[in-house]
């Protein structure tokens, strides 16, 4: 066997083209931790692509381990392959945090300009000092009585937000736009929130 192998070698060497030898010596240097950094990238790329190179990599390590007396009593030549296959079979972890309702669609980056939607919060009384207007009770009943007397459109005659500083308006307005942006994704009638967005812009 040894002879035969020895005989084959020159022929093989003659047959093989230089790049393979280069690759082999690179690989050998890599196993020994002697490959210059500059060549490392190329060698790694080749290693990740090429099955032959991978087989060679395993054999070189085996030789290295044998030479250094690191081989276990029994070793499994197909271990690396099987490990790789096992990893391939392993399902990737899914990024599910929790299940969301099917109608939920995220609206990310509903970006807002500070000065946008200036008159949007028309009607929002920006600086009401306290919550006295609202009954303390949380009951819907209490609210319905208050809604009957609610100051509907206390709004129309006051230039909205006239007393509020622009940054204040901008902050509040951005809330409104954000709310409608998300609402359009969550509501059965997705068109309505946009209509509200436009509708509230009136120069009333």
């Amino acid at each position: 066997m040894a002879e035969k192998t020895a005989e084959q070698r020159p022929a093989q060497a003659a047959h093989e083209v230089a790049p393979v030898d280069l690759a082999a010596s690179q690989l050998s240097a890599m196993v020994d931790g002697e490959l210059p950094d500059a060549e490392m990238n190329l060698a790694l790329r080749r290693l990740s692509r090429d099955n032959d190179t991978q087989g060679r990599w395993e054999r070189y390590h085996l030789i290295s381990d044998a030479v250094q007396g690191h081989l276990p009593a029994v070793f499994d030549a197909g271990f690396a392959t099987r490990l790789r296959e096992a990893i391939d079979r392993e399902p990737l972890p899914q990024p599910t945090v929790r299940s969301l309702p099917a109608w939920y669609k995220p609206v990310t980056g509903f970006a807002l300009a500070a000065s946008v939607v200036l008159t949007a919060l028309f009607g929002l009384q920006l600086t009401r000092p306290d919550a006295a207007l609202m009954p303390d009770s949380n009951s819907p009943l209490a609210a319905s009585t208050s809604s009957a007397s609610r100051p509907v459109q206390a709004v129309s005659l006051n230039p909205p937000a006239a007393e509020a500083s622009e940054p204040t308006e901008a902050r509040l307005n951005s809330y409104l736009v954000n709310h409608n942006g998300y609402a359009s994704r969550n509501s059965v009638n997705g068109m309505l929130p946009y209509v509200r967005m436009v509708g509230y812009q009136t120069n009333r």
Partner: protein, 338 residues
Amino acid sequence: MKRKLLPCAALALAAGLSPAGWTQSAPPVADEAKQWLERMVEATQSLNYEGTFIYVQGPHIEAMRIIHGSGPDGERQRLFSLNGPPREVVVANNSVVCLLPKQQATFAGNDYQRSPFPLSIPREIGRLESHYQFEIVGTDRIAGLETRIIAIKPRDAWRFGYRLWLDERNGMVLRSALLDDHGRPLEQLMFTDLQVKPQIDAAAFQSPALPEGPSPANPVDTPSPAGEPVKESAWRVEQLPEGFVKVLHTRLAESAARHPTEHLVFADGLATISVFLEKLDGAPALLQGASQLGSMNAFGKAMEGYQVLVVGEVPAATVQRIAAAIQYDPAQLKAAQP
């Protein structure tokens, strides 16, 4: 999409099922109403249409035009006002661009994610039944088209009701009304003209007044990056009105105009409520107490150095109750599991 709808309508109506006999196990009439709602969801998302409608909110009246298309790239929509100062919203290709009065500012979200349509929500509509009852209440003619009228009545006082007029042909909503607890309209929308088309020319979505998207030539405020989902928060909203579930908890990207802000969204499938928690950093509170903007109610309070603002198209009591249910517990933040 399933379309095994219509036929038993007349039969069910003839059977004389009354709303008084409403139970959780929906009678056929309710089932049919739900099927109409499914059709509506599908139609509003998947049809190509162009139309004009009026929008009435309190004492205000508006005329608007809408152009909607759908294709492999998703939905596109252009909505603009026909009276008063020009206002416009264009939704396309994962972005929303708005034209607003006076300053002609625009904003856009590049990462505005729109999943492929149409969303199918039969399951959610089923869920809605615990909190709303559905009923077909008749027929009517809107914009020259025959419609079926669907009433959606809340089962408690935490939400508003709706009435929808749906195109007999395809389920497209031609008229809608948001109703208060006395059945009075808070907000109404009605098409005066609607054309459903096989296809809509791309040019129709181009607004002469708007850029195609944010660009250096159209400086907006820098479009914010996507808000990041919040996994740990010191804020809790306990004891929500029944049926409302949290569908979003995000941290809005910071900008010059905004302090760190968390945004929570609660929805029952029809109504949506936003809770904003903005760190005041010494600034005065924006809103304390109740307020109203059109069909939306808002309630604000200052708490732990934060502005708490609850807003939604729900009764005043609902936003107030949610505001009262908000709790700040920094210990939770530390204890929160990853």
